[in-house]
Amino acid sequence: MRHILLLSLLLSSAGLRLSAHHSFAAEYDGLKPVTVTGTVAQLDWRNPHAYIYLDVKNESGAVKSVIVEGHPPNILRRTGWGKDIIKVGESITVEGWASKDGSNRMAGRQVTLPGGNKLYWGPPSQ
């Protein structure tokens, strides 16, 4: 935890020093945290972002697709991911933030894998 705090501090002070594909706030609302559990329908392992397409059941049993944006594949590979870590049909839980455009997209931060392990999928909301 201490390390994560330290990293957050350093990143928040990084300001204009670092350059990512787009700013978080351009698409997502850091004040609207979202947690969803669903079944992996598709894993899109491409640039500039990897996406998990998740089938999420609501209380009435209807299935809604949620698109979870994450880091690009190169960063995911360096933070412990591989293409086979999650498979289509498996159940996972994703924590992140809602999109600003009201669509079914979200910024994924952390994924809880079927075995209970957690991996970061995307950046913090900054």
Binding site: I4, L16, S19, H21, A26, N47, H49, H71
Partner: protein, 259 residues
Amino acid sequence: MKKLLTVFLFAYLFKLTAWGQPAPAAPLKNAPAKLPRAADGKPDLTGIWQAFGVALFGETGELRPGEGTKSVWGPPVGPAPYRADLAAKVKALASDDRLNPQVQCKMAGVPRITGSVVPFEIIQTPKKIAILYESNHTFRIIPIDKPHPTDMYPAYMGDSVGRWEGDTFVVDVTSFNDVTWLPGPGHFHSEDLHVTERYTLQPDNTIYYEAIMEDPKVLTKPWSYRLILRHTPRDERIMETDCAENNQDPQHIIPAPVP
């Protein structure tokens, strides 16, 4: 009186160097003899480097012993010194990330690319230094002690020529197009942009990087961008990226109100 004048002179000189002006040569912490050196005696810049970022340390924030936690060096750098009549344009560009050249998957330009969250590799020979960036699979080949060509054409990454000034590798970059941004949101520039980069290897095997940006059409004075570059903690390879292969962002970005 003489003492007083000397104090004022020092204060004035300090002020000149402390706010966005070119910093003095990067201070070496120990004797230069301890630097890793190439066969020709120049500091050896070879290897995979990255400014502080997610991919470098992993999300656990791991730091290697002896490297500390600093991510920048030198005196503080003030805000980009844009001409007053261009401030509104900078704000307008910054408020709509669809206009960000990197959101449009364009090459990041110099020096913005040095602060990318993915690494780059330096390959050093006595006559040329090549920088292979993972960001958009971009590269620069920098001839040493050669002039710029006379038939230059505006380019995203400009045209680079290098020289050694003591133990610092200095790169003169010119012939830019006006498509890329300087570091920071909305920081557009003109084709007159001129960048001087300085790569100074440190005894702890980091590089103190400085880019001095001059663009009289948009900036009122030179502006500096400083980073500490580190080797990646694991045995890395520069991987392929093709930003445009599935770029869904522009159609989902919500512009912010212009302040």
